[in-house]
Amino acid sequence: MEHRSSVYRGQAWLRRGALALLTFATTGWATAQLSTVLAGNHGLGTLEILLLALFVGCFLWIAFSFWAAIAGFVMLIVKARQPGLRPPPPGDARLASRTAVVMAIYNEDTNRVFANMQAIYESVAAAGQGHAFDFYMLSDTTNPDIWVAEELAWHALSARLGPGARVFYRRRRYNTAKKSGNIADFLKRWGRHYDYMVVLDADSLMEGRTLVAMARLMDANPGAGLVQAPPVCINRNTLFARMLQFAGRIYGPVFAAGQAFWQMGEGNYWGHNAIIRTRAFMEHCGLPELPGKPPFGGHIMSHDFVEAALLVRGGWSVWLVPELGGSYEEVPPTLLDYAKRDHRWCQGNLQHSRVMGARGLNPVSRFHFLTGIMSYVSSPLWLLFLGLGLTIAAVNTLFPRAYFGVQKQLFPDWPIFDAALAKSLFMLALGFLLIPRLLGVLLVLLDRPVRQSSGGTARILFGSAIELVYSTLLAPAMMLFQSKFVAKTLMGSTIGWGTQNRDDGGIPWPVAFKAHIGHMLLGVFVGLLALAIDPNLFLWLSPLVAGLVLAVPIAQFSSRRDFGAWLRKRRLFLIPEETAAPPVLTRAREIFADLEARPRGEQDGLRRVLSDPFANAVHKLALAATEEPAPDETAELFVARRKLANGQPLSPGEKALLLYDRTTLDARPIPAAA
């Protein structure tokens, strides 16, 4: 059944058509120029044709991003609204719909996630619509100590919020299908109680007014299946993360508006900070297990793209609404954490190659899959492009052209190299990469409050320049990382879906050295090779060579919190959320500091539950609330019980088993000293 409005669809295809036309036209022109440059007066050989093919693949994405960003900039300048997405009626009418705010957690810092949840809860209550929202902590935690800590934190949070606080806690015994399975489990248990759900990550923060606005938007648009509020990156202190936050804040709006421009009601889901119509999601977004082994078979890891595609296939619209505001997340603190996350995302996105051909998907959804895949595959393409370019240069040096052919001729065959054309092509590519950034800077400079709270014009310009140099130096290492991830995934290697590091810890020198030694050696090799071929070539490649040779110090210094703090004191890489923290962030920090100051008590979860009647009671309440059955009387359980009785060390799995075991839990109280 079609729920989407037909209002926007004609315009959407017009916009997409215009973007496609511009993208293909510029790529075609650039390819023709490169072809002329490469052909010279001797025509195109196999290597040159290969190089051209790689260039087309890479340039298409640059051109598309460029034109989308231009469109986004225009949309922001003219303050255009999304046609087809009806704004909610003005006023503060009491919400009649019911929304569940669900936060999926997995072995996280308990105080941090519960502080965030409390801040969001209070923010919604302050917005005057608390009655319309319920809050769920959906735990997939496997560490039994963290599990028990979460239960106690949940009860403490309920007590702090007062009687009637609707914050619930549920831990799954088996974390099948990771986060998507966690959300699906919630929907099966309680989904039908709610009209909508807002999915949050463990590091998500959202203002109450944003959540209310999203619920109103869904109310006003009965055909909307999902509304995504793009999150702003905040709350980090390392140099790496602060530069990422700064780049996201300055350039992010242009790119987000650009995406909204062409996606319209066939948008994408970013996995969190989005509101979803539960009925639509339950009907269409149950994810199957793909046949075959991971990384391409098994559970769908990057579930968000697939869920958005399934919603659209089901006739629901999916919207990206950048103007919502009040939506935040955190970035990985260091380059290596970022790369680790990229590895997971790379594996997940490449798995989409198994899904993108699915029957009935909207072409725009297929394009989302393709962009996701290309965001990683473009790295090995660039790598091949550079390698091939170097090879051609080396071949030309090692086997110089014969100026006089075998036949007698009066004039030599001078090699023709159109330097002006090559330069104009280079400038075009550079422009495509830099202009969207410049437009982002321009937008910030035109917005007085944002400009002032980002450190003022001079600091924004200086910060942008430094960030440009930094990201240029970072790009080669990231290209190699991503190429490795793509290769590993294609070879069948898998990476676990672990907890993201959310602490501002630095990378020790040996770790940075180990991670980047290959990059450094490659940088030295490429530099020497380029020098041997032609000093001019070395100059052209110097940013790449410098990025690789300096990879270790770049990774180490950028991971340092003190550098980040030092620059913040000098108001560099400042974002408005650092100058004046949003209320929800301020409150989350206050609560976190308060929780951290409290005594922690027994850290061994099982021991705590067995020795402390209150912890025991809360644990059993959490089990009863979700009607978790006791485990079967297996040999494993018997062994765990014996080990406990004999005071032998227990594995996390055995502890978890005992924490479900009625016999063990009822054998109370075991003295704390036991």
């Binding site: 009687p163 099966k188 248990r189 109680h193 977004c285 199957p288 089990l623 979700t626």
Partner: protein
């Protein structure tokens, strides 16, 4: 003489020593430390769940908490779990130990328990969430036909 006046309780009580041990353990989980109160509570529970089986103890106590907290009897298990937390939060084991399992608990206790009661999620629905079909698009019929069939 004394034996006639005060017969051995173990002969008259309807539960075994093992059951008594379980009752004691159960009440310790409610923070009951006072000996006299413990004896009285054991007597009450012995009347309600003479077998001493964990299931019977919980069912009896669950019914009592469901009644006190105004929950339907079908939610007795949840009421017991939530009620025990509320009981411990209110420190009722120290303040009002003898009100536990009493026929008419005082209003102050009922109110204290309801105040300390954490909110529980709504009833479980157990809805299905069918797996989406992600089969690849069918090839056009001419392409799907084996090459041999087409060339024959």
């Amino acid at each position: 003489m004394d034996r006639l006046k005060f017969p051995n309780r173990s002969r008259t009580r309807p539960y075994s020593a093992e059951a008594e041990r379980k009752f004691r353990s159960f009440f310790r989980g409610f923070g009951i430390e006072d000996d006299a109160a413990m004896k009285e509570l054991i007597r009450r529970l012995g009347r309600l769940a003479p077998s001493g089986a964990a299931g019977d103890i919980d069912a009896a106590a669950g019914r009592w908490f469901a009644d006190v907290l105004g929950r339907p009897e079908s939610e007795a298990a949840r009421a017991l779990a939530a009620g025990r937390v509320a009981w411990l939060v209110a420190q009722a084991g120290r303040r009002w130990p003898l009100t536990l399992l009493s026929d008419t608990p005082p209003l102050a206790v009922t109110e204290a328990l309801r105040r300390g009661l954490p909110a529980l999620p709504p009833p479980l629905l157990g809805d299905p969430m069918p797996a989406a079909e992600l089969e690849r698009r069918r090839l056009p019929s001419f392409a799907a036909r084996p090459l041999r069939a087409r060339t024959a």
